[in-house]
């Protein structure tokens, strides 16, 4: 009987540890490192870039998702505005339905000069448990996740934004202050996994 209980406890612990692996990284926890090649052929390692910058914004994006596309200009403008402040923006396309050539032409069409990577087998999306596009993660120079969620609350009208959540998180981080709202949610397109 005691053996049976021990087995049950062990099974429970195993189930918990698997669940923990599958969960999105907690705020303040280490951001899962990944190595990918950009769509223009350069290698990228999150851990190295995080050390070299004040923050890295990892954005799960899509070329076809209307919600992601609603933010194309905002991604371009924020990446440009924050580059001089030591923040690097990167785009990850994990959709099996969108190839590198499509991602490249989409980036050119929308003036996205930040690094964009295909995520073969959606391994990075799995590491972050990213479910939809657009979803962003802010990783600080210590390699820790400081913010997860949306760019802002108004996908339809950039001029009507009342909660610029990503901007607030970055500004707080750069000012050495705690991020007030660390997790946010918005509608988006499911990542098309293999």
């Amino acid at each position: 009987m005691r053996l049976f209980r021990s087995i049950l406890v062990l099974c429970g612990l195993c189930a918990l540890s698997v669940a923990a692996i599958a969960e999105t990284p907690a705020i303040g926890a280490a951001a899962p490192d990944f190595h990918l090649t950009t769509i223009d052929g350069k290698s990228f390692a999150l851990s190295s870039e995080a050390k070299a910058h004040k923050a890295v914004v990892v954005m799960f994006i899509s070329t076809q998702c209307p919600y992601s596309n609603a933010y194309n200009d905002r991604m371009r403008d924020m990446a440009s505005a924050y580059a001089s402040k030591g923040v690097m923006f990167v785009g990850i396309n994990s959709n099996r339905t969108e190839d590198a050539a499509t991602a490249l032409s989409h980036a050119k069409a929308h003036g996205h000069s930040f690094p964009i990577m295909k995520d073969p087998g959606n391994k990075v999306a799995d590491l972050y448990d990213a479910q939809h596009t657009p979803t962003v993660y802010v990783v600080d120079s210590q390699g820790k996740v400081r913010y997860e969620g949306r760019i802002d609350e108004n996908y339809e009208d950039p001029s009507g934004v009342t909660s610029p959540d990503l901007k607030n998180a970055l500004d707080a981080l750069l000012a050495g202050k705690p991020v007030a709202k660390t997790v946010t949610k918005a509608f988006g397109c499911s990542i098309k996994r293999v």
Binding site: P66, T135, E153, Y155, E156, K185, F187, C189
Partner: protein
């Protein structure tokens, strides 16, 4: 000869039956709702098992799973299943939503999510585990208690097994 006549009558009856079913199918939006409105819509169906499906016309997997939702509703209506659709389309796509419903004629009511407020509040109110990805479905038992949520396309066979278990329990 008689069997030909019988077959013709059966075929005619079948055709009329199909037409009657199609004509009865909701081809327009049933209205708008926010999180409170959704709670009321689910509460109105107390005594039934309810599957709420969140979708959008621009969402490919949502469009792909629509026929299976219709079949799920048809197969289990008599036993007490009620499917409720909620379109999360942009306001400017409302015409596209109406057109989609007119073409598909789903055998279940569909609402448009009411604009205003923060999407996050709506998402959290529906299910705290929901990140906002579409499609997304939530299953309620006959007492209106939330049983589980499905992220992404509904695994139809597994979901139907679960629905039938709920339908079997009174």
């Amino acid at each position: 000869m008689r069997s030909h006549v019988r077959r013709a009558i059966v075929a005619l009856l079948f055709l009329f039956g199909v037409r009657a079913t199609s004509a009865a199918a909701p081809s327009r939006l049933a209205g708008e709702l926010d999180a409170a409105g959704l709670r009321e819509a689910v509460a109105r169906e107390r005594g039934h098992v309810v599957l709420v499906n969140f979708w959008a016309t621009w969402c490919v997997p949502c469009r792909e799973e629509f026929p299976s939702l219709s079949r799920l509703q048809e197969r289990n209506r008599a036993a007490g299943l009620r499917v409720v659709g909620v379109s999360t389309d942009f306001e400017k796509q409302r015409t596209a939503v109406e057109k989609f419903l007119a073409e598909r004629r789903p055998p279940f009511p569909n609402y448009h999510r009411k604009r205003g407020g923060d999407d996050q509040d709506f998402i959290e109110a529906v299910d705290p585990s929901w990140g906002g990805e579409l499609p997304f479905s939530v299953l309620y038992d006959r007492s209106g208690r939330k049983v589980r949520a499905f992220s992404g396309k509904l695994p139809t066979a597994a979901a139907e097994r679960e629905i039938r278990k709920l339908l079997a329990s009174r």
